[in-house]
């Protein structure tokens, strides 16, 4: 059984159809990539999973539970951590406060302190800057911070929207390395990425989304010429 099951989801903004019946599944411990052009509906799909947009049709279930009536914070408490595009660091809060807010839903779980120590171990630059406002961090450090914050929730599923956007190649490689090491702890990942090669290398399975619909899906899209075509349009228009 899938951890996350998205079934024929349709989302509209007024007369604009953002998702036109998308089905997608993420299994336990699996990394799944979702790739596609700008405006294809990738971010909308993630927002739909978090309950930030209303479904016109279809359903989403997580860990066997329907998410229909759950509000965003309840979904987070169920074990879905979401790192939105543009990161979503709380710039006014210190690095420490950002990380601890990740564990907000766990209330006073004594294991929070251990997880905190582990996150700092994983991302040493954060340990040196605990008291600084998060807004003063560099782009790469902020990406580490939001990844660390997501881990503080002890998620079952991690939704990552464009984690490498705007990062230098070396730092991006570092982030991808972290993502792949996460699955060893049993976390599932749904990854939206513009760097299709990196995403496809990381993920066992992938979906290509075009204009609100799943155009391609499968385990081995890395060498599929159709992926390249959908990006570079080698077939002329007329």
């Amino acid at each position: 059984m899938s951890l996350l099951a998205i079934d024929r989801v349709k989302v509209t903004y007024g007369n604009v159809v953002a998702l036109a019946g998308v089905s997608l599944a993420v299994g336990t411990g699996e990394i799944v990539a979702l790739i596609g052009a700008n405006g294809a509906g990738k971010s909308t799909l993630m927002k739909a999973v978090m309950g930030q947009v209303r479904l016109a049709e279809g359903s989403i279930s997580f860990d066997g539970v329907s998410l229909a009536s759950r509000r965003t914070h309840e979904r987070a408490s169920l074990g879905i951590a979401y790192v939105p595009e543009g990161r979503g660091t709380l710039r006014q809060l210190s690095v420490r406060e950002n990380l601890l807010m990740g564990a907000f839903a766990r209330r006073r779980d004594p294991a929070i302190a251990d997880d905190f120590a582990r996150v700092l171990e994983r991302f040493p630059p954060l340990a040196e800057r605990l008291a600084l406002p998060a807004g003063t961090l560099s782009g790469g450090q902020q990406q580490m911070l939001v990844m660390g914050r997501a881990l503080m929730t002890r998620p079952k599923l991690l939704l990552l929207d464009e984690p490498s956007l705007g990062l230098a190649p070396l730092i991006a490689a570092d982030i991808f390395q972290t993502i792949s090491s996460l699955t060893e702890t049993g976390v599932s990942v749904l990854l939206v990425e513009q760097n299709a090669h990196a995403a496809l290398k990381l993920a066992k399975r992938a979906y290509v989304i075009e204009m609100g619909k799943i155009a391609l899906q499968g385990p081995d899209l890395l060498h599929d010429p159709r992926v390249r075509e959908s990006y570079l349009g080698e077939v002329a228009l007329d």
């Binding site: 978090m50 930030q52 509000r71 965003t72 914070h73 987070a76 408490s77 951590a81 979401y82 939105p84 979503g88 709380l90 710039r91 006014q92 809060l93 406060e97 601890l100 807010m101 990740g102 907000f104 839903a105 209330r107 914050r149 929730t153």
Partner: protein
């Protein structure tokens, strides 16, 4: 002489700060100008007065009464006048309209209940005068300063040390991110209203004690000054509101002493215009709420 003025200014300013903090807290979580906050302050003052007049209790009980009643009123306002609007989408004018309406209701209901006249605390509340040589200060003034600063310190500790307090700051910066992290933002907004209103209620009692006058219309002046302070301090900044409140209090007292006394009520807006010309986003710019 100057020291005396500074003391008086700090006392006045600390009550301004308490009211302005309320505006900033509420602006932070809802990006909303809460135009009924002055009336919450006024209801708090009446609550303190009633505790004293009807139950013959002391000033601490009065402050506690103001805090509790205003806090509950804040929650009611959020549930009745603001939450239903949020549920129906984002018309940015609607919550402002609603807060004007709530303010009108509170003002008239209090007028009908307690009359439009000013009322004062019993005589024994004036307190003893301590002459410290360079300054003289009454026990009431000491009480006001102690309570106001203790409230601000308590708030500071709450928003930096407690889980819920940090959650308020997180929600204030970005409501969507807060909810992604598992924070129930509706609860946090209600909590913020309760705290902001409770601080307003405390300020109401303190101002009532200071001027020995409570009336249904005392909220209007305080509201306009509170809003000016919020701009001076920077929209949504708690510490900006504290600094702005103290600055205005001291400035007002000094302007009365050394400039034209009758223009003191316009001083807040003069200061606001000067600060905005020099630092358009206020003393402690947060960067939140630039749009709309």
């Amino acid at each position: 002489m100057l020291l005396q003025q500074l003391t008086n200014g700090l006392m006045l300013g600390s009550t301004y700060a308490l009211v302005a903090i309320g505006y900033s807290l509420i602006f932070g979580v809802l990006r909303l100008l809460h135009l009924a906050h002055g009336e919450v302050f006024m209801v708090g003052a009446f609550a303190g007065l009633i505790v004293v007049l009807w139950f013959s209790l002391g000033p601490f009980a009065a402050v506690f009464g103001g805090l509790v009643v205003a806090g509950i009123l804040g929650i009611i306002l959020e549930l009745v006048a603001f939450r239903p609007i949020r549920r129906r989408g984002d018309n940015y004018l609607a919550p402002i309209v609603s807060s004007v309406g709530a303010g009108l209701v509170l003002q008239e209901v209090m007028t009908k209940l307690f009359g439009a006249e000013q009322q004062g605390f019993p005589r024994q509340f004036a307190g003893a005068v301590y002459d410290l040589g360079i300054i003289s200060i009454t026990s009431t003034q000491i009480f006001i300063i102690v309570v106001a600063f203790a409230s601000m310190i308590a708030l500071h500790l709450f928003v930096t040390r407690s889980r819920l307090g940090v959650a308020i700051r997180a929600t204030s910066e970005n409501l969507e991110i807060a909810s992604i992290l598992g924070i129930n933002v509706d609860f946090v907004i209600m909590l913020t209203f309760a705290i902001a209103s409770a601080l307003g209620g405390i300020a109401g009692v303190l101002v009532g004690l200071n001027f020995n006058a409570v009336s249904p219309f005392m909220g209007i002046d305080m509201a306009t000054k509170g809003m000016a302070i919020m701009l001076i301090g920077g929209l949504g900044s708690i510490y900006g509101a504290m600094a702005g409140g103290l600055l205005l209090g001291v400035g007002e007292v000094l302007s009365v002493a050394y400039l034209a006394s009758s223009y003191r009520d316009a001083f807040a807006f003069g200061l606001m215009i000067i600060v905005l010309l020099l630092r358009p986003r206020g003393l402690f710019a947060t960067g939140i709420g630039e749009a709309r």
